[in-house]
Amino acid sequence: MNFYAFLAQLLELVVALVLAPLLTGWINQCRAWLQNRSAPPLLQTYYTLSKLFHKDVLLAHNASSLFRAAPYIIFSCMALSCAIVPTLSTDLIFAPAADAIALVGLFALARVFIALAGMDVGTSFGSLGSRREMFIGFLAEPALLMVFFTASLISRSTSLSTIVETLAHREFVIYPSLAFAGVAFTMVSLAENARVPIDNPTTHLELTMIHEAMILEYSGRHLALIEWAASLKLFAYSCLGIALFFPFGIPEAADPLSLLLAGATLILKLAIGGIVLALIETLSAKMRIFRAPEFLGTAFLLAVLAMLVHLLLEAGQ
């Protein structure tokens, strides 16, 4: 138990909680620019959260205690996932407690709760959203796990810290398998974070929504927690992408100077990532829900291909 590992862990969590809404705001801004609209302020997400926290909660007559507990559970799961992903340092106090597979399990836990909450009030849109969310979930989860497995086979460990250490520090080798895995991961992240082309985060057009349909009945602080959790999820996925595919600059040690440097690099990378995401969303159109299996099936096959490429070409090295 060293002090710096604890400090890095705490800092990482706080940075995630603070920066996540900013990342969402940044992406919205970039997207507005790219689409020739006037952009909302960068801090708009914070204003919305603050507004929602101050409002009364309107609960449907039929809402059960599960409905009220779910936002807290989902928010905690997402915050924990941000703490697991190494962003500022690989020397984290929580790193041994959860590896890449546990991270997938954590995302699945949050997904199950949000889907159950969507079904709780018993409206037509709620259960429609839950069904679609679980549908996207079971398509995306294997692909995500295969991406992690490819990285695990390279670094001989499923621990995220070890993966990042191996990829960033131990040796500088170009892994062609990671290129395939990177594409697969991007596709999965788009689907998991309810982005175009699978879902549209700004839609309220009833028949096309997935994420929005599940949370239709939420209001006030519950909605704020869920929106914040969604930003945290996007932040966690972005950081995962950075950790797996662009880990250069994540330090092994956790002394204050390297933490500061790592923070600066992280913000730079996230800013670029946000632009890329906005670009993808602007350039693609939302697909019909039953095209999603093709999209995510492609992601799964790419991830399998990545694994095979690793086993065929790189394993002997």
Partner: protein
């Protein structure tokens, strides 16, 4: 008189169950005695058995010979680590089911309580004897007693034709399987005629006979376990039984098949071939995928759970197959990892599936409905059952930090090591198979959200659900015990792995004990800490702490006002319970994506139909491709043979004469 050993105590406990059953049948009218004294006593014996088995796992094998049965064929019994582990599973699960059954039993339902008490406890005794048996004869007697007791319990509501049909199907397939097991024992006993397991262990390891024995055993135990394509009886028989019996069948009886398979494959047969493992792996994966896909489209809550059992048994077989592969490459510690995952999953499945089946029992008593299309919103009327079912559903979906996740995590870790196998292509194919395991786990999540969401959440789909009542006190104790098991098995993986160490040492010669226990009770690191580690306790603690903190912060800095209003639902004014997703609706994406797996019949009436009927029936295609042709073949064959039956005595005398003549000719030469 020698001192009583552990095996004697275990035997006394198991026979105690039989005694309870006999007392029950002796006083069939005393319902209060049966439900309030005998079943709780049975639960206590279960607990006792679990404790005795716990003590027995690490101790040396013990034997006893019971002088019952035929004159020259006494029962040989033996208690070793493998049987002790499965006895532990039996005792611990049966304790929960029995205490629940005490509250569940109704004098007006099905077979009268006295007889049910006898059958139920005889079933428990026979299962314990299956796990203790040390010769083929004792094993088969106990095995068949188990099958028969289960048959009578399934047919408890024998007034309904479809229940009789389901029970008959179970009995038939169970007996076909028993023939396979018998033949496997016959092959292993060889020409010696000695059916003790000790003699079978000396069975020659060369030639093709071990493979024949393995395949026969796989067939026999596969029918009992519900392995594809021998699974058809399972989704018929498990749902129609009374719920405690369903729980027992899915939770424990399926595990006896796993026990038998392990006993034959690792203990009795000395040689393990790699391709056996591959075969088990393929069969297990096929069963798991098939089971979970069908679970996701079911409309009957107990059938959904039955299909989910096929999935879980499939995963166990995947683990056993992987262990066989590692064993054949002389990698005992990795084989131990895969085998630990399989055994751990057996224990987990026993707890969470029994829990879920018992929850459906409470729902059934409260509402009289098994059909998902007529349930809904029960979390308001039955909070105890709902929240405990949620634990079971989350465990079954393989979500951290509950128990289902630990075994799936171990299994996936096992797959990651297959990349290092010294083999030309297995080292590339097997890691990819992990993707299929991940798909199965994700689909299990879908099925469980459907199960829990449709039964307990939303608006009640029928008027009468407003009168539903929660589980009775004894029922709650049973559910609580099993739910606590799901949580504890998830939080204390190292304790269980240390417990499994003697078992894996006995079967594959390797164990995880050192690696698992070297980092403290809270951190699971099966091979080494930098390879992979997982700490469910830290996981749960941090989520709980974070939740408490967030709740406190939100309530401290913002007011806590909440109003009850009508649901928003995008502003649509009309909302009825019929507008929610039905079970069919929720399963629709699965039906569409996996359509080649199903045989569907649909009725889509025209828009001008005055009385439209919408129907969509999803059936098991194997029933039509395999079983019905097979049944027709058998019928055709019997019709040919029936030609012999002419009904005239002269012809029968002729048959006897011809037979005699033929035999004389044959024996003369």
């Amino acid at each position: 008189m020698r001192q009583l050993l552990l095996i004697d105590w275990i035997l006394i406990t198991a026979l105690g169950w039989l005694a309870i059953g006999v007392v029950g049948i002796a006083f069939p009218r005393k319902f209060f005695l049966i439900s309030r004294a005998l079943f709780p006593l049975g639960a206590f014996l279960g607990l006792l058995l679990a404790l005795l088995a716990l003590a027995a796992i690490a101790s040396a094998p013990q034997r006893v010979i019971l002088p019952i049965g035929l004159p020259d064929l006494p029962f040989h019994l033996r208690l070793d680590a493998l049987s002790a582990f499965f006895l532990l599973l039996l005792g611990a699960t049966a304790a929960g089911i029995s205490i629940y059954a005490a509250g569940y039993l109704r004098p007006s339902e099905g077979t009268e309580p006295g007889l049910q008490c006898l059958l139920y406890h005889a079933l428990l005794t026979s299962m314990a004897l299956v796990m203790l048996a040390d010769d083929g004869y004792a094993f088969m007697v106990a095995w068949e007693t188990m099958a028969l007791c289960a048959y009578f319990l399934v047919a408890s509501e024998h007034r309904y034709a479809e229940i009789r049909r389901a029970a008959y199907l179970y009995l038939l397939i169970s007996h076909i399987g028993a023939v396979g097991i018998l033949l496997a024992f016959g092959v292993m006993a060889g020409s010696s005629g000695d059916y003790t397991f000790d003699a079978m262990r000396d069975f020659p390891t060369s030639g093709y006979w071990p493979t024949v024995a393995f395949l026969l055993a796989l067939f026999g135990f596969g029918t009992k376990a519900g392995l594809l394509p021998l699974h058809v009886w399972l989704p018929e028989a498990h749902p129609v039984a009374p719920s405690p019996v369903s729980a027992m069948m899915s939770g424990i009886i399926l595990k006896t098949a796993i026990y038998g398979m392990l006993r034959v494959a690792f203990d009795l047969l000395h040689v393990q071939l790699g391709w056996w493992g591959i075969l088990l792996l393929i069969l297990g994966l096929a069963s798991a995928l098939f089971g979970v896909i069908f679970a996701a489209v079911q409309t009957d809550m107990k059938r959904l759970l039955a299909y989910s059992s096929i999935e879980n048994i499939g995963l166990v077989f995947v683990g056993i197959g992987l262990a066989l592969v590692f064993k054949s490459f002389q990698l005992p510690n990795l084989a131990a990892l895969a085998l630990t995952a399989a055994l751990y999953h057996c224990l987990n499945h026993a707890f969470f599936k029994s829990l879920l089946f018992l929850c459906t029992g409470s729902v059934l008593h409260a509402t009289g409905e098994r059909n998902l299309g007529k349930l809904g919103g029960l979390i308001h009327r039955m909070p105890w059952v709902a929240w405990l079912a949620l634990i079971g559903a989350l465990a079954s979906a393989g979500l951290p930090p509950l128990n289902g996740f630990v075994s799936e995590w171990l299994l996936l870790q096992g797959f990651l090591f297959t990349a290092g196998l010294p083999h030309g292509y297995l080292n590339m194919l097997l890691p990819v198979v992990a993707g299929a395991v991940a798909l199965i786990a994700a689909l299990a999540g879908f099925a469980m959200v459907k199960f829990f969401g449709v039964v307990f959440l939303g608006q009640p789909r029928e008027e009468k659900l407003a009168q539903a009542h929660d589980a009775s006190r004894l029922e709650r104790y049973g559910l609580l015990w099993l739910a606590a098991g799901c949580v504890l098995l998830g939080l204390l993986p190292n304790v269980i792995i240390a417990l499994l160490d003697p078992v894996t040492r006995q079967l594959v010669g390797g164990g995880l004990r050192y690696a698992a226990t070297s980092h403290g009770w809270w951190l699971l690191a099966p091979i080494s800490e930098d390879r992979a580690s997982y700490s469910p306790a830290a996981f749960l603690a941090s989520i709980a702490l974070f939740m408490a903190f967030v709740y406190w912060m939100v309530r401290r800095y913002y007011h806590g006002r909440a109003q009850r209003v009508a649901a928003w639902d995008c502003g649509y004014p009309l909302q009825t319970s019929r507008m929610q997703d039905t079970a069919e609706g929720f399963g629709q994406p699965i039906r569409r994506v996996f359509s080649p797996f199903f045989k569907r019949t649909r009725e889509h009436p025209s828009p001008f139909d005055a009385q439209p009927r919408y129907r969509s029936v999803v059936e098991d295609p194997l029933w039509y491709w395999l079983y019905l042709p097979l049944a027709r073949l058998v019928e055709y064959g019997t019709r040919l043979i029936a030609f012999l039956q002419q009904g005239r005595i002269a012809i029968y005398l002729l048959y006897s004469f011809v037979t005699l003549l033929t035999l004389l000719v044959l024996t003369r030469g």
